[in-house]
């Protein structure tokens, strides 16, 4: 049963991802991106990491996609009607397939640890515990990175004096 759920989630993620890289309409591509990201949230749920699934839907499915849609609107990607793929497309396909083949061969040759323990739902409070005790310094650094990045984004995108 769990295997069936895994297959459904994996299919959602992969179809969404293929949609992002293959479709000819940029807005459709971003909608496929939402599909792939929400599918990823499903995979997290399957691994019983509820907290990450929630964060994934909120941050990726919500904020990041809205930002990307805004960027598409502001760069007029719909109106300009240009080719979306470069001339290097066949080479890109060869490179991606080679990478896929190499990685899958590696996965097949490695002996992975078989399971072992009962899976328990990862409780919210133990994630918070780990985040604020063991990982407190990286957490603070991450908040500094976010602050600097967002201030930088505003400065870069700001309309300058005399600019149309």
């Amino acid at each position: 049963m769990t295997q069936v759920f895994f297959d459904i989630m994996a299919a959602t993620v992969i179809i969404g991802a293929l949609g992002v890289v293959l479709v000819r309409n940029v807005v459709h591509a971003s909608l496929f991106l939402i599909m792939a990201l929400v599918g990823t949230a499903g995979v997290y749920l399957l691994l019983s990491v509820e907290f990450l699934a929630l964060v994934q839907v909120l941050v990726y499915g919500g904020a990041v996609t809205v930002l990307i849609l805004f960027a598409l609107m502001l760069t007029r990607a719909r109106e300009l009607q240009e080719r979306l793929d470069g001339d290097q497309k066949p080479l890109a396909a060869v490179a991606a397939l080679a990478l896929l083949g190499a990685l899958i061969a590696m996965v097949n040759q490695t002996v992975w640890p078989r399971d072992i323990n009962q899976l328990t739902v990862v409780p919210f409070n133990s994630i918070g515990d780990a985040l604020f005790n063991r990982w407190a310094v990286p957490f603070e650094v991450a908040s500094g990175v976010l602050l600097v990045a967002l201030a930088g984004a505003i400065v870069i995108a700001m309309q300058e004096e005399g600019e149309t």
Partner: protein
């Protein structure tokens, strides 16, 4: 009651994240619109997160290192998207295009 770790082997999650990563690589290499390249980068970041969470759950269920790393990946990805979109917007305003192969002022 069956759990994921008993029924679905770890390889399945690794293969899923491998496929997702390869699709992202293809998107980054083949697309020419900067926003679409950014979307493919997001796919690759997601593949890495899936990988780390799966390893965390299967091999070290009492430590949350992989999960915490995924939280940081999501945080940094949000910062990266905001910054990258500001840069793309600025390039579009200065050069009238968001296609990476037309922004070739550094080319000899």
């Amino acid at each position: 009651m069956e759990t994921v770790t008993q029924e679905v082997p770890l390889e399945h999650f690794i293969v899923l994240s491998t496929i997702l990563f390869s699709i992202g690589v293809y998107g980054v290499l083949a697309r020419r619109n900067a926003v679409l390249i950014l979307m493919s980068v997001e796919l690759m970041l997601n593949a890495v997160s899936i990988n780390m969470v799966a390893f965390a759950v299967y091999t070290a269920p009492t430590l949350f290192t992989g999960i915490i790393f995924a939280v940081f990946v999501i945080t940094i990805a949000a910062a990266e998207v905001g910054l990258a979109l500001a840069v793309i917007l600025r390039i579009f305003r200065n050069r009238g295009t968001a296609n990476v192969d037309e922004v070739d002022a550094l080319k000899w």
